[in-house]
């Protein structure tokens, strides 16, 4: 047992923190303003591309991607504190080319993509030139049980023909988004975990109809967006299939472990920022003749928040350690645990921060209201908490 990061990680933390202070926090407002300019929010604000260039120049680029020649060569454990720092600002991850779902999609391409697939899609993603979408969840079926997925991927000659309706295909509303990984049913017999495949679908293919963006708890998440997409007789070359027919679950298992832990790392940063804001507020706000910090339950809230954050962080780090050491499959229990803990913890911390801010807390004048929506959505993203609790219980009952 050893509770300190290596010097390499500490240096990256410092560098990243500096970048956050100098480039990210001061530009959060600019980003929002540029987004709102001109009435169309579905465009990339100029400031984002400028920050990406700066980050790339400083080597703060593609820090995710463990065990790969493509990334920065960090393990999940080493990446964890860095993702946490990025999590402090909603615009940060993209700046460092570390934002979902691109990270997960790049991991899929690194691990399971053919040489040709990598050249065509991985390289521009790694360069931050395009964005991507993971098109999985469907409105008509309970998609947390992915065997329900009903979109079809049917071979016809040298092509696959895709038909179905997806939603919460996050990122597809972004004009920079060029490629989707689509999950669907290709085989209609045999073991139910071997009937699905994943396939690369360029968004400009005929029959791909992005119908609308779906607001999440009031937020459009522009320019990213959560798209509803209709796949209407979409034809792509057979070579676009990932890994092989019926191997869709294999891919999503490989994808989801790191994906979930990245979210969790970021929630810790989000919670730290919320706690910082709260402390700043209550030290400076007077009601009923006293500073808020000297009233009622505020100090209890601060203590509770600190206790919850510390515990969540340690379990996230341990999970990262285990993914590195025994692989995502053997770290399933830990991955499910931090998925649940991360989102619930940040929900509670942000909720208290909002309450400390009074009316300002629900406005968009602080980042808290948006964090609140994000945190709530995370309790459903990548499967509702309850599905993950069931995983934990099942493994526990098996003595694993």
């Amino acid at each position: 047992m050893y509770f300190e990061h290596t010097d390499k990680v500490k240096e990256l933390e410092e560098k990243l923190n500096e970048f956050m202070e100098e480039e990210i926090y001061p530009n959060e407002k600019t980003y929002k303003e540029q987004l709102n300019e001109g009435g169309n929010r579905w465009k990339a604000p100029q400031i984002m591309e400028e920050l990406k260039t700066k980050a790339k120049k400083q080597g703060l680029w593609n820090l995710f991607l463990p065990n790969s020649e493509y990334g920065a060569g960090l393990t999940n454990l080493e990446y964890a504190p860095l993702a946490e720092i990025m999590g402090r600002s909603s615009i940060a991850s993209e700046v460092f080319n570390c934002s979902a779902p691109d990270t997960g999609n790049m991991e899929v391409l690194v691990r399971f993509g053919s040489e040709d697939q990598r050249k065509k899609w991985l390289i521009p993603l790694l360069n931050g030139e395009i964005r991507s979408v993971y098109s999985m969840t469907e409105p008509e079926v309970g998609s947390s049980d992915a065997t329900n997925i009903s979109t079809t991927i049917v071979r016809e000659g040298d092509e696959y023909v895709i038909n179905g309706r997806k939603w919460f295909s996050s990122g597809a509303n972004d004009p920079r988004c060029k490629i989707a990984i689509v999950m669907g049913k290709s085989n209609f017999e045999g073991s139910k975990h071997k009937q699905h495949s994943q396939i690369l679908v360029p968004l400009d293919t005929t029959g791909v109809n992005v119908k609308r963006y779906i607001p999440v708890l009031g937020y459009d998440d522009a320019p990213h967006g959560h798209a509803e997409i209709e796949y209407n007789n979409v034809r792509v070359p057979a070579s676009n299939l990932l890994l092989g027919e019926g191997r869709g679950f294999e891919i999503s298992q490989g994808r989801l472990g790191p994906g979930r832990i990245h979210h969790c790392m970021r929630t810790i940063g989000m919670a730290e920022r919320a706690l910082d804001l709260m402390i700043e507020r209550v030290k400076n706000r007077v009601t009923f003749g006293k500073l808020l910090v000297d009233q009622g339950v505020i100090r209890q809230w601060i203590a509770d928040s600190r206790m919850e954050i510390e515990q969540a962080r340690l379990l996230t780090l341990k999970t990262a350690y285990m993914i590195d050491k025994v692989g995502g499959k053997n770290a399933r229990k830990e991955i499910s645990m931090i998925k649940v803990i991360g989102s619930q913890m940040v929900s509670k911390v942000v909720d208290r921060a909002i309450q400390s801010f009074g009316a300002a807390g629900v406005s968009d004048d602080t980042p808290l209201a948006y964090m609140y929506a994000r945190a709530r959505a995370l309790r459903l993203g990548d499967g509702p908490d309850e599905v993950h609790c069931e995983v934990v219980a099942r493994l526990e009952l098996k003595g694993k």
Copy 2:
């Protein structure tokens, strides 16, 4: 002790429920569509005016307003189950001319307005021709302690001159909104509860600048809106003052009791609707080979929701009974209790409903996401829960 409503109330409940089924629920979507038409959301959708006409015709109009010749002659206790029913739909209260802040403002005018003030503002409000705003909260001060309010109302000759900045002046973004009741400081000496006054300010007065609407947890609440308003040397006739100089607190005390209980009544309806939606969902959605209703914690959630709703409803009814019987001032403890309980209860119930819906729960395809934002905001509206808990504790410690 007697736990049934009178026949008069039961008849109104039935009539109202029928109206909800026939006119309100089927038009929720229409309302939203009309609102989104043409790019400008700051307008009254046609359907609203149509529904108002129908409601008025059926006598479902101004059901609030106890002890007054103006309203329907119901007590608070009689109004409670009706407000609950209205609370089931976010568009319903306005249809019946029972929506905040107009109800509170009308009560102020009924109780404290001069004959002239009533003629000019109360009558059109009662007719549903105009809307109004209660301009109280300020961004710069902790306004839950209203002695902090710093906007000034200074007498100059036959006029009062108003200067200050307000926000969360809900309703002021609505084009039909014509009049504001503004709270400010008129006297700068003496007891701190006798320094503030309330004054009627027509929104078209020179110097009234509605700067922006403030989104609440992602929602703009158009066409209503939560406005930030700058009062810049605004001059109104001295006769616009309500009740008298230094009597602002007297007015807000009178206003807040019923205001809070109306919110609470509606939260119960909101919670009932969320529970209905949840039950409908879990009875029909399959994951992992079983209906949701037969899985995990869902049934516990249903039981918890029912238990919380029932208790909140009973305390709300008792509070209404006490306001009727001993007056708002002597029902302070109950009013503070239900203010806290109502918003927390509905927050929990809606949260569970969202979780049962999965991704759909955070979209705008169900009313749940908006309810979630409303419920959260209510934990701050009319003073944060913690301020009300302090009231309860203080009275309890005094043995009251």
Copy 3:
């Protein structure tokens, strides 16, 4: 809706409160001392019999028992506030001959007993001359599902022969306890809710072996006790059977409604006493230079306690109202709800009170530690909370 008790009830409340102040609270210590005298705690302290005589003289006797010529002629709703007052002291209910399980057993005899059974057992119970036990729960089976009950009651000639093992047969360790109502299986075919019977078994019958008392969370509950009883070829006359063979469930349904609500009424009194003690403590205890009442979360705890108590009380009263009006069977949902709410509410309130008292709170120098154990046990007594939540959910899902 009407939220006040009748004058008759108010007078009884006053009288009862006076008795509590003058006779009960001052003698709690005496009772404990007499119980501890002489090394044997399994005896009736003298003071109890004295207090019973006084209570009887004042007409504060058998206040429970609605709709019966035997009791005081009160409805459940009228009895509720009186039971609440009794709940403030652990020795009070017995003083007024209103303690479990005698009350439930008397109700069974009133409703289902033959004339002979009433004469023999009901009359001495009504007079407070003997005590009784309800022998239901078994160690080997999950008894919250009473169809599991496996003790046998087999007819042989003019007798029934009883064999089985029971535990938590509360009261059987008391030397004054003379009679048990035993639930067992008499019919081994047919509908599983028609296989059980209930039968009267005098404790001095050959083969009734009270093996031990079972401490509940550290307390022996002497002289009452929670007995483990072996029924070893116990023979009683066939006329001891209650109501008829296979009608055991009919009896327990009739018994449990009022039983549960009595417990719930008393938990409210228990919670009120805990809150009183807590308030008294925090107003007088100084740490870190300030009264406890001015520190941290204490005031929040007071407010939370008040809010929880008020809500639980109202739902208990409504449930009593419904039992009176539509009968226990049609008030199942309410009965299950208050069963859960009452015990959880008092658990929370007492927990906070203990925490406010520091070390003294876990000692026996205050009534809190014992209350804590009682409250916890009540979450299991008459079926675990979860079984009752399932009842609520099931009825809710059926739209009832």
Copy 4:
């Protein structure tokens, strides 16, 4: 960051687990039986001395005591998983001479004792020949603020004279207990953290009157006990003073860090045992036609318990790491956090286990009821949770 114990620790874990399986668990019942024999529970059961001899022989002795020539040479971090294992049984710690308050008292003597004091008291304690008491808490004052301590320690010639009343002097009812460390006021001026001293008082000194044992939530904790002690003109040689006059706080600071973390380590073991028992139960108990494990909220409880335990364990380990590395003073925040988290976590886990067991859960047929009392008491032991939350908040607000 590294999440595995060293091989040395793993070997000790294995050895200890074996000892638990072979010697401890099977003898829990024997211990209880021997304690109950003969009517006097205030004696050491024979089995305890036998187990101590075996443990000592196997080198499983005095495993606590970091940085000292006296103990096993383990760091706090190394000791943590071992203390966790001991925590699984209420009789285990004493077997390995690792039980409170002896461990803390030995640490005090190791660090602050004179050579003579060590020879006289430390050696027999290390050998497990005698036991000791830490006499700190007083009934009359809020002792979580130790500056309130009012017992006096006054120099008279070559002696100190002690007067005062203490309670919760745990262990003093044990006949093997020979020595007390008493905290009292020796200086009546100057800084309030320099007015108290600690002094060694043999229990057989004239004027030391052990008045009674105080049950904790129903349990007498025999033969250990929680004593109320009157110090009535107790005279001890001046050389019995520890460290020096006015240095009492210095000592208790040094004592409390490890003391608290030991408790927390043990609570993790206690929670693991409770979870084991619960899982065993629900896999084998049928109600309503289904195994408990397939019903309702049980699986959620298992998942929640696992998540809470894992997080608490990691923070405990990190705290141990910090005490080793930067010292207890600089690990104050962590120490306070795990003090709160440990007791609350185990309270929740044990509560769920009890609920799964039904009536058996509150009896003494499983270890759960006693664990429940212990867990609850720990929320007050070494200062109420709220005092520790205040420490966390204060440090957090200072940015530490």
